[in-house]
Amino acid sequence: MNASSFATSARTATNRRVESVGKTVLAGVTALLILPLTAILGLLVIRGAPALSLEFLLEAPAAGMTAGGVFPAIVGTLWLVGVSLAVSAPVGIMAGIYLNEYARANWITRMVNLAIVNLAGVPSIVHALFGVGVFVLFLGLGTSILSASLTLAIMTLPVIIASTKEALAAVPMAFREACWTLGATRWQTIRHVVLPNSISGILTGVILQVSRAAGETAPIMFTGAAFYLPFLPQSVQDQCMALSMHLFTVSTQVPNVPEAIPYATALVLLSVVLLVNLLAIAFRTYLRRNRKW
């Protein structure tokens, strides 16, 4: 009997080799991605470990930042993230809903969309200048948590709007038509069907902005974050310390800081972001489970 008519031909063998090379390269690159991630985390843990302790979390910096902890900075970061998202999440989500569900495709809408895209690309230091000009000076809010949070809010808005629009656009048109044909108004349609089916996507966009608000230094540096404050903020009109700012300070601005302190600060910053994200994800899961209307 001859060789099977389905034996591997030369051409197929080549194809198969290319296939396996391609797969290996793609998998390899993906594996490489894990490297910097684990390296960063590992470095932070190893270098920061000597400074980490309960006191580090619960005490204020001491001895000109060369000792003590980061408690006021943790509190400040939570203030900034909380207040900025309390502003940008509702505003961004509402704008996203309007743009996706109501706005007609005319030149005004196109301008607004263009502005949002461009706003997303503005460097954070420019946001900082804007914040100083508008919130601190023009509106007279002074250097305060409010000014800093509003600056962060402006910075995080475009992404929240964009992800809201995307999540809404993913809801099938058929759901909307089903509502319309029963005489539902646009708002009823949005409220009963569109939002419940897009809320987790919308919240994902918001969650991603938590780390942005917590991590940026430039926008808060001139608008509300202080190098060192001996007291905790009592209201949004006070200044505050912030982890990102503190990290900048202890790494570059103050002499004779023990090496472990900046690393430990960075580790705390990451943990705070992670913690806030986990809370938000828990909230999202809760909403998803209670998909009621």
Partner: protein, 255 residues
């Protein structure tokens, strides 16, 4: 109910510059099934979507002329779209149950239009049973009313989409190729349902399937390139078409 459920006068529709409907004067019988047939792009779906003004949700659509439902021109300035859609319901090509329970799907219309105090449990339960019975689903579904509607078979989903319109007591039900997503068996069952609904409701159905138009409809309109070629009793149209183009189309010479 008057003799005609829908009348159009000089109805034109433009998508931007393109004239999709070129001045239609038509009358649809009340309590009957009227079929719209014609090749793709002839405007039959566009026409159907004029009757509940759902076309207007899309950009660049402009309409001229009149569509009269219940003695009122639905394109007059004082037409409230919400009121119109309660009277003129629509069923789509692909069944589109909302991602809710079977019960909530059926009662959605009532929840939209009646405040909490005007809908007590007994009214809702009655509407639920009546509507599901009307579409032959009650016996199958009565024990699983809280299941997700999206888990039903396509046939049942489509019947549910029809049932969902009934609590609002519509005058007309528009159907845009309601069986095109269904297998032949399911199609037969939905067609049987349509025959049962006729009489209580006026149905206007768009279909690609000439055999279906012939089986279910009482009157039939053949459209071509945005114009009405002829509209007559279904039997007459298929047996002795007056227009050569109708004859060619129903004999499958073009499609």
């Amino acid at each position: 109910m008057g003799e005609y459920c829908i009348k159009t006068r000089g109805l034109k529709l433009f998508y931007g510059e393109f004239e999709a409907l070129k001045g239609l004067d038509m009358r649809f019988l009340s309590g009957r099934i009227s079929a719209l047939i014609g090749p793709s792009g002839c405007g039959k779906t566009t026409l159907l979507r004029c009757f509940n003004r759902i076309n207007e949700r899309y950009e660049g659509v402009r309409t001229e002329g009149e569509v009269v439902v219940q003695e009122s021109n639905i394109y007059s300035a004082d037409t409230d779209l919400v009121e119109l859609r309660k009277k003129v319901g629509m069923v789509f090509q692909r069944p589109n149950p909302l991602p809710l329970s079977i019960r909530d799907n059926i009662l959605y219309g009532l929840r939209l239009h009646f405040s909490r105090k005007h809908r007590n449990a007994s009214i809702l339960d009655e509407a639920l049973e009546t509507s599901l019975r009307a579409v032959h689903l009650w016996d199958d579904l009565k024990d699983s009313l809280s299941n997700q509607a999206t888990t039903l078979s396509l046939e049942k989903q489509q019947k549910l989409c029809i049932a969902r319109l009934l609590p609002l007591k519509p005058e007309v039900i528009l159907m845009d190729e309601p069986c095109s997503a269904l297998d032949p068996d399911a199609t037969a069952k939905v067609e049987e349902l349509l025959r049962d609904l006729a009489g209580d409701y006026s149905l206007v159905i768009v279909t690609h399937n000439m055999a279906q138009a012939r089986r279910v409809s009482d009157e039939c309109a053949f459209m071509l390139l945005g114009e009405l070629v002829e509209m007559r009793r279904t039997e007459d149209l298929f047996v002795s078409p007056r227009d050569q183009r109708t004859a060619d189309y129903i004999e499958g010479r073009f499609g």
